[in-house]
């Protein structure tokens, strides 16, 4: 090559083409997604909890997506009753789809584990509930107080005593309460919203395995 402009224009053209195909085109034809009626907006507390989820990097071990049942076993394993669709994520900024399942998928964790006390104990010490767990302990989201220092509004977490420092009680901070609230809100079990742009998995429909027919 001897022409600089050819090199530069060519470089611009290739990345421009990819941008049109993967970013601009989807903007125009697909991602005009309406929020499904059954998907509630996050409350202020849940948004605060989502922010803790982002801040502490939960996304590096937990996905939030049920993959296509045509070639995965995500539904059989119980991560959800159907594959998730774009409409399920309209309120998520930034997206928290995740790329790892070092821990379980969480998009329907509120359905599986609706008990806030379970989550609070689990955040404080995951191994108090699952001996095999390698999830970090989030002790820094709690206060370990002397019983006499407890305030009337303190939310005491009933962690099994062998995990608590001698003579202390574990109190949840507002941050971890918000996180719990957010995690419990994670449910995408309503039927697939049959609105424009929400379902875009046509290649599998012809086999009669369409997710739209699933419960």
């Amino acid at each position: 090559m001897i022409r600089t402009w050819l090199l530069m224009l060519g470089a611009l053209a290739t990345v421009g083409f990819a941008t049109i195909v993967l970013i601009v085109l989807p903007q125009i034809v697909v991602f005009d997604v309406q929020a499904p009626d059954q998907l509630p907006r996050y409350t202020t507390t849940q948004l605060a909890g989502q922010d803790v989820y982002r801040r502490e990097g939960c996304v590096y071990c937990h996905s939030q997506q049920v993959r296509d049942p045509a070639f995965t076993t995500d539904v059989e394993r119980g991560w959800g009753s159907r594959a998730t669709v774009p409409g399920d994520y309209v309120y998520d900024t930034p997206h928290l789809l995740g790329t790892m399942r070092t821990g379980p998928d969480l998009i329907n964790v509120g359905q599986r584990l609706p008990d806030p006390d379970w989550h609070l104990v689990h955040f404080y010490q995951p191994r108090a509930l699952n001996a095999w767990s390698i999830m970090p302990s989030y002790r820094f989201l709690f206060r370990e107080k002397d019983p006499e220092d407890l305030l009337p509004n303190d939310r005491v977490v009933r962690v099994p005593p062998q995990w608590v420092p001698e003579g202390k009680v574990v109190v949840a901070t507002p941050e971890v309460l918000a996180l719990t609230d957010y995690v419990i809100s994670l449910r995408r079990q309503y039927p697939v919203p049959l609105i424009a742009g929400a379902v875009c998995r046509s290649p599998w429909d012809s086999d009669g395995r369409s997710i739209a027919t699933m419960p």
Partner: protein, 504 residues
């Protein structure tokens, strides 16, 4: 064309020294880029050490989850992105910028223009890195993988700093004194066009929900393909012919490899979301583009291999070549692995497992980091005008990082597959997928110590050299191993004087 003036020696025929004027061109080029390039290299080495420490902490925390749980900034979910960002933007990018600044003036036969602007750009880049690093550990980050550093605080510094470096390079290119642009110039200059575009798209603030996922992986994969890969391939294309004194095998293959890489790699991103809640056609487009990557990968692999053929003994002689060829082989390996991983049949098993992490390290370590080490082994003596002080430290460095990488990648890949098979079988409880992957996680922590030791050896060696301790010997290290590339034509030139000129 680099090296074309040095006929192949292979220990047989007597080689001639490069003409005086060629040497002068390189001396002037190296002199002009010396300050900004060395600034980027030295700061990159600092980030390498910090990133190694963070990687080790993150790795250990995966199998010792109750370690250091009292401080938020030390939690796994912050240390891990801090490690990734430090390695990508601190270590790899700054080292690549150093290589670009040093390489381009040599290839276009003129001095680097606006070196002060490039230096300022490098300083701003470092400032962005410091701010981004602290922000991630403090929890003030964007939460998007590969783009965690705060959008309005750190990222503008990367854009401005990178832009300054890009301007310096573009002005240099415009002032070129060669007609033909060597293949390394294509890769290096194109990547400075690509990076700001993809970085802007990745950081575009209006994306929500799944569009933000699409933009996320569009960026992250292109950061690998159009930034890290492009500059490192440019370096390989320079150093293999340069060290061997033999032109690259085929110009046509270089051309094919470059344009198909530009076209296919940029469409690969959605294969990170296989099975996910995106339109199937987007994901399929990326899978098809990933499979088509066989064309640039084979074109580059054949081109490099055919240039090396018959000269593999030179690997003993040149530490640069040893690291660069390792990197080139790793590039072929990681690309083929990536193509297969993108296929739905494979991805259903390996997606969401440690396989992906091992794969990423074959790429960013085996390929990018090895190529950067190799480049530094070549560049430092020429820029600093002194030889590496110790042959054994070079050997230690190579074997520590080579063995460490093997110990990292092989167990994590194997146990990643076991983890994936457990996840795929609904009859197997989830806990099984965790316990099955544990030996791989332990092996990684051991490997991390070995890799970090290699880094410390290398940085110590660089420090020893930069500090200017008088090297005991003035001829290149491993000269005695087998001087396949150069033999003195007669007694009138001593090996010392000859190697000085030949090595410029």
């Amino acid at each position: 064309m680099p090296g074309a003036t040095i006929p192949p020696g292979d220990g047989g025929g007597a080689a001639t020294l490069p003409p005086r004027e060629d040497v002068d061109i390189r001396l002037r080029a190296d002199e002009s880029s010396r300050v900004p390039a060395m600034f980027c290299f030295i700061t990159a080495l600092g980030w390498l050490l910090i990133g190694s420490l963070l990687g080790e902490i993150a790795s250990v925390k995966m199998h010792m989850p109750d370690l250091w749980t009292n401080a938020g900034w030390l939690t796994f979910g912050r240390v891990r992105p801090a490690h990734l960002n430090t390695m990508i933007y601190g270590w790899a990018s700054l080292a690549m910028i150093g290589v670009s600044l040093w390489l381009l003036p040599r290839l276009v036969h003129t001095a680097l223009r606006l070196p002060w602007l490039a230096l300022l750009g490098g300083a701003l880049w470092n400032l962005g890195m410091v701010i981004g690093f602290v922000s991630i550990l403090a929890g003030y980050h964007d939460g998007i993988e590969w783009l965690e550093m705060p959008r309005y605080l750190a990222d503008p510094l990367f854009v401005i700093g990178g832009g300054m470096i890009g301007i310096s390079l573009l002005v240099t290119l415009a002032a070129r004194e060669v007609k033909h642009l060597y293949v390394s110039v294509w890769y290096v200059m194109a990547s400075y066009v690509w990076f700001p575009i993809i970085f802007l798209i990745g950081n575009w603030p209006t994306f929500t929900g799944v569009e933000s996922a699409a933009a996320n992986w569009f960026y992250a994969h292109n950061a690998l393909g159009l930034w890290l890969t492009a500059i490192c391939l440019g370096a390989i294309y320079y150093f293999i012919p340069k060290v061997l004194g033999r032109p690259i095998y085929s110009y046509q293959l270089s051309l094919l490899g470059f344009w198909t890489l530009a076209f296919f790699y940029s469409l690969n991103g959605m294969h990170h979301l296989v099975g996910g809640p995106l339109p199937t056609w987007m994901i399929t487009t990326s899978i098809v583009a990933s499979a088509l990557m066989i064309i640039p990968v084979l074109a580059v692999a054949v081109n490099h291999h055919m240039t090396m053929v018959g000269r593999f003994r030179a690997l003993r002689y040149s530490p640069t070549l040893r690291f660069i060829v390792f990197g080139a082989v790793a590039y072929t390996a990681v690309s083929l692995q990536g193509m297969f991983t993108a296929l739905r049949e494979v991805n259903r098993i390996t997606h969401f497992t440690h396989w992906t992490i091992a794969h990423a390290h074959v790429g960013v370590y085996g390929f990018v980091t090895f190529v950067m080490f190799g480049s530094m082994y070549y560049i430092f003596p020429r820029v600093l005008r002194r030889e590496w002080p110790s042959a054994s430290l070079i050997r230690w460095h190579f074997w520590l990082v080579a063995i460490g990488l093997g110990m990292y990648v092989i167990p994590l890949t194997v146990f990643g597959v076991l983890q994936g098979l457990a996840l795929l079988d609904p009859a197997v409880p989830f806990s099984e997928s965790v316990t099955r992957s544990l030996p791989g996680l332990w092996a990684r922590s051991v490997a991390g110590v070995i890799l970090s030791t290699g880094h410390i050896v290398f940085v110590y060696h660089c420090w020893w050299m930069v500090r200017g301790a008088r090297a005991e010997r003035r001829i290149p290290q491993f000269h005695e191993a087998r001087p396949v590339l150069y033999e003195p034509p007669d007694d009138s030139i001593t090996p010392v004087a000859a190697s000085r000129r030949a090595s410029v």
